[in-house]
């Protein structure tokens, strides 16, 4: 058998919503070696009805480059057959999608680990920031970084 084509790495930062099923189909099209796909979708919570929207800011250029770097590391580390990471920006309402990560691998453990690794690093190393807007019209301020997101990285070191 000839060498397989390089694992696709799909990275996008966009305002518009994404279609997880369509992105998954695109990632694995023609890759019959893929026996496992893990797809993670992060959504905007309503925070008990208090939140009216999140505003997502990013550093154009660096955001895409950091996500791509994280994805390529995951491909190598977990021998993934493909990875996609799509992050939305600007105003996002409760219930809407924020982020999509899809990892394809021959077996399930690599696919789970690959998606989890990319999400953990994306939260702490990719330049995105969330600001809350509340249903009562007030501005909730910038979401603070969580220590738990930093400790989540420890399992990969």
């Amino acid at each position: 058998m000839a060498d397989a084509a390089p694992a696709p790495v799909i990275v996008r930062v966009q305002r518009d919503d994404f279609d997880a099923a369509a992105e998954t189909a695109r990632l694995v099209a023609g890759r019959a070696a893929a026996g496992a796909i893990v797809s993670f979708t992060g959504l905007c919570r309503d925070e008990g009805g208090r939140l009216s929207a999140l505003e997502l800011e990013h550093y154009p250029g660096m955001a895409e480059a950091q996500i791509e770097r994280i994805c390529r590391t995951a491909v190598t580390r977990f021998s993934l057959l493909g990875i996609a990471a799509i992050h939305r920006v600007e105003r996002i309402a409760p219930g809407e999608n924020i982020v999509l990560v899809i990892a394809a691998a021959p077996h399930r453990h690599a696919a789970f680990d690959g998606a989890s690794f990319v999400m953990d690093y994306l939260k702490t190393a990719a330049p995105f920031w969330k600001k809350e807007h509340f249903a009562d019209g007030s501005e909730g301020g910038w979401v603070a970084a969580k220590d738990s997101d930093d400790t989540a990285l420890e399992k990969w070191s």
């Binding site: 800011e57 550093y59 480059a65 939260k123 995105f128 920031w129 910038w142 603070a144 970084a145």
Partner: protein
């Protein structure tokens, strides 16, 4: 001239998203840059009050505060990231 770019609450407190600035010759590291900017006004002082939480990127790459900034085209200052 060095381009400085700011994001999230650093941007809001400084009151602008970017600026081109002539840095004094003795501002040679990220830490020195933060110290210098804090002298430029209350907005800067407020934004950079807690220096240790400020993240620095040079030419769109994360760096430590003691990293030399010589030759940087673009230096970004921002809070801890909260994407995902």
């Amino acid at each position: 001239m060095t381009r400085l770019v700011y994001f999230a609450w650093v941007r809001e407190r400084i009151g602008k998203g970017e600026e081109d600035i002539d840095l004094p010759a003795d501002v040679t590291t990220g830490a020195a840059l933060l110290g210098y900017l804090k002298t430029l006004g209350d907005g800067y002082a407020h934004a950079l009050e807690h220096e240790s939480v400020i993240r620095i990127a040079i030419n769109q790459e994360h760096v430590e505060h003691d990293e030399p900034i010589a030759g940087a085209r673009e230096i970004a200052l921002f809070p801890p990231m909260t994407g995902g």
